[in-house]
């Protein structure tokens, strides 16, 4: 039951983009077409799942037992950066079609603060292993949901008459604000 609550809360209630404001850069940058938004979302979900496993292991097997807590920031960021590289090489070797689909979005993920945020939040809340993994998968799916919805709205927005200064990022942020309002309605689902 606890795991289900974490899962649903990561997707809908505490959505990474709309509640924690993590991963805003890809959310605004790669949300012009539904296809590319979906690829980006899946790539993020994939990396997030692996990150939550690896960062949990580092935190609980190395940092906490040896009282190296102050190295958390340095070690997480280095691990995430090399992890994304590794995942990219691995996918290119093992599954060229998947590599084609994810394409340029994989390297972009290194600079995605959602990944770092995921590792830090999971460490902050002292999640156990199963909880950390569920949190990682849920957060990735939540990100995918938000970015795909956003891309759908922006495809329609192309036809709308938006005031000149608001074109681009301005209207995208306002749309995100209205989406965040909608997602607030899910708060009642938990607790």
């Amino acid at each position: 039951m606890e795991l289900v609550a974490i899962f649903i809360s990561a997707i809908l209630v505490n959505n990474f983009v709309l509640y924690y404001f993590l991963g805003i850069c890809p959310f605004l940058g790669v949300s012009k077409k539904i296809d590319s938004a979906l690829s980006m979302g899946l790539a993020v979900t994939f990396v997030m799942t692996i990150t939550s496993v690896v960062s949990w292991a580092i935190n609980n097997w190395i940092l906490i037992p040896y009282e190296l807590d102050y190295l958390k920031i340095v070690s997480f960021i280095l691990v995430i950066a090399s992890l994304v590289q590794l995942v990219e090489m691995f996918i290119r070797k093992m599954s060229p079609p998947l590599y084609q689909a994810l394409g340029i979005y994989l390297p972009l993920i290194t600079t995605n603060c959602a990944i770092m945020g995921l590792a830090l939040l999971a460490a902050l809340r002292e999640y156990g292993f199963a909880e950390a993994v569920v949190f990682g998968v849920g957060s990735g799916l939540g990100f995918t949901l938000a970015i795909v919805l956003m891309a759908g709205i922006r495809e329609q927005l192309d036809l709308a008459d938006v005031p000149e200064p608001l074109k681009g990022a301005g209207i995208a942020l306002i749309v995100a604000g209205i989406m965040a309002l909608g997602f607030m309605a899910f708060i009642g689902m938990i607790r």
Binding site: L18, Y19, Y20, F21, L22, G23, I24, C25, L28, Y70, L71, K72, I73, V74, I77, L78, A81, T111, N112, C113, M116, G117, L120, L121, L124, P163, E164, P165, L166, A169, G170, I171, A172, L173, I174, A176, G177, I178, A180, L181, M184
Partner: protein
């Protein structure tokens, strides 16, 4: 680039290349911590500290860094100063550190800082990088202050915790909640672009 005077190097960060309004960098912390002015200010100062010291270090060792591993080097330097800032806040300003939560460690992935190292500090002298970092962080603080003032005044009727609105004022709670951040920043970006296009057409 090199022809710019010291003053221009500083002021470009305030408006022409303002990280938030013009370059759209560092939006995550900008949106996340600006519910209250005090949090926005603390985040601005912490980022300033990290940016200035990273720029000083990177610009002084720029000749020693092999270009293949420069990004990794930048990240380690930045992460070191972020750790210092995080521990300092935890030790002396526990309440603020708690309110900012994971967003202090997240300064490490703030694109403003890495962007300045890559675009400026790794190519310019120590003095120039310092001025550049100072200008950029002032621009960042400015953006955080504008956004957090609007959100706190409209959302709670207070400024830095002091009441500024009369008893007739009904707070717009939505402004200190996440949607308010998106709406306020979206409208501010529109205003900034509008001013920019007006001043351009006058020239």
């Amino acid at each position: 680039m090199t022809t710019k005077s010291i003053v221009q190097e500083f002021t470009k960060g305030l408006w022409d290349e303002n990280p938030v309004f013009r370059q759209l960098l560092g939006l995550c912390p900008t949106l996340a911590v600006t519910g209250w002015v005090i949090n926005g200010l603390a985040m601005g100062l912490a980022t300033t500290f990290v940016l200035i010291f990273s720029s000083l270090v990177i610009s002084s060792i720029k000749k020693l860094i092999p270009s293949q591993v420069r990004i990794a080097t930048f990240i380690v330097v930045i992460a070191t100063f972020v750790t210092i800032a995080d521990l300092f806040l935890k030790a002396y300003f526990y309440q603020i550190s708690k309110a900012l939560g994971p967003y202090v460690p997240l300064i490490v992935v703030n694109c403003i800082i890495l962007g300045r190292q890559e675009a400026f500090s790794s190519k310019n002298s120590v003095g120039r990088s310092f001025i550049d970092a100072l200008g950029m962080s002032s621009g960042f603080i400015l953006a955080l202050l504008v956004l957090s003032s609007i959100r706190e005044i409209l959302g709670a009727g207070t400024f830095l915790g002091y009441k500024v609105m009369g008893p007739w004022f009904k707070p717009w709670i939505i402004m200190i909640l996440p949607p308010g951040a998106f709406l306020a920043l979206g409208i501010l970006l529109g205003i900034a672009l509008h001013i920019e296009s007006k001043t351009k057409s006058r020239k």
